[in-house]
């Protein structure tokens, strides 16, 4: 089963750790907040995604099953 990275925009404080750890899926907007491209993460990206989730200082990032409702 494939996963997706999701961000809780209320928690996110634009530390930007996530884009450094997972630039394949996460870029920053003009104000420094993450834009997640919504593509699945699998294979070797999955481990990087887990690290990005763990590294977020505000615990705003999570891995969700694809198709799971909400953001």
């Amino acid at each position: 089963m494939s996963s997706q990275v999701r961000v809780n925009p209320i928690r996110c404080d634009a530390y930007g750790m996530c884009t450094e750890m997972l630039p394949e899926r996460i870029t920053l907007d003009d104000w420094g907040y993450p834009i997640i491209d919504g593509k699945p993460v699998s294979g070797e990206l999955l481990e990087l995604a887990r690290k990005a989730v763990a590294a977020c200082p505000t615990a705003a990032l999570r891995l969700a099953a694809r198709g799971e409702p909400s953001r």
Binding site: N8, C12, G32, Y33, R71
Partner: protein, 415 residues
Amino acid sequence: MIATGIRLFDGPPLAARPESLGDHEVRLGPRPRFAGGDLIAIVDAADLRGRGGASFPTARKWAAVRDRSRGNAVVVANGAETEPLSGKDRALMTARPHLVLDGVLLAAEAVAAARAVVYVSRDHDDAAQAMTDAIAERSASDLSIPVTVALAPRRYVAGEETAAIAHLNGGAARPTMVPPRPFDRGVDGRPTVVQNVETLAHAAVIARHGADAYRSAGAPGATGTVLVTMAAAIHSPGVYELAGGSTIAQAVSAGGGATSSVAAVLVGGYFGRWVAAEDAWDLRLGVDVPLGSAALAIFPHRRCGVMQTAALVGFLARESARQCGPCEHGLASLASTANELAAGRAKPRDGERLQRWIAQIAGRGACHHPDGALVLLSSALRVFAADVNTHLRRGRCDRDATTMLPAPDWTIRGR
């Protein structure tokens, strides 16, 4: 024609006192009673959609709560009406409080609720008083559950359903992340229906007259009637009850016609979209164009739509709950650049910057507040494209730059 009894505003003139319980029952008879969730199937057959902006099927919302309620659900009658262009909920509660209250009680019985709250703007004293008085008029046997009135703060997002729940739970009226969805966990953590007051009044009509009579008015997808607020360049601004699926031309005609040559219509309030006049007249409300809040602003040629839109985006930016970065900072940037554009101080790439930000921000708030601002702005960039180009190239256009749609600063007077 709309059959007798289907209109919310049948009965005494709207300018009269709120209709009393006695007059209401003489006119319509007592509130009908239904076993269990039987009314949900009737509301479903009537194809009633929510009138708070999202047009979500009412029966589906009720069924989700009924499935989860153990007799403990909560009904929130949403009359916050924070949309500055809209006046329909206030007019309805003030003129027909018992029709709204019938809808509240019918919904509560249908979803097995233990209590209900009528959530009214703190600025609409007349509506809050009419609802409070209506509740007091009811006998204990009629009032099957406790119904109270709660005041909504002066904040654009206060009527968003998760914000309403947050406020009723003792917090600030700011949207929250979903899940949990209100039908799972809302007021006091209980399954909760948050339903616009107009929708509830329609449910009370459907309960009395049945789905077929209700559907005899309106159009497929926009059944029954709809309360439309008309504003700006219209002879008689105010609230009008029209058949669902009426065209914008019919709405303008109901309001006595436009007062001058029309450039565009803002359909659905500040959460809606600009439509060029020539494209607007034949659009059927709720069929060809989303109903939204059902507020229509008729905007004349002689005014500057770029300046007006910049003012509205500024309002929506100030009304961000400032919880989500893309909304707080994104809307502020959009508003500031739109304002520069409107004032004739645009930089050469500002048009592209606005388009890039619109694409970046879309869908990235916890609620849809930023998306509403994006739809408003992007529709303006299309509809007023010629004027936008003039502003980009020459500074200002030749149109009157004074605005006519209110963009109040609610951050000054506090909440």
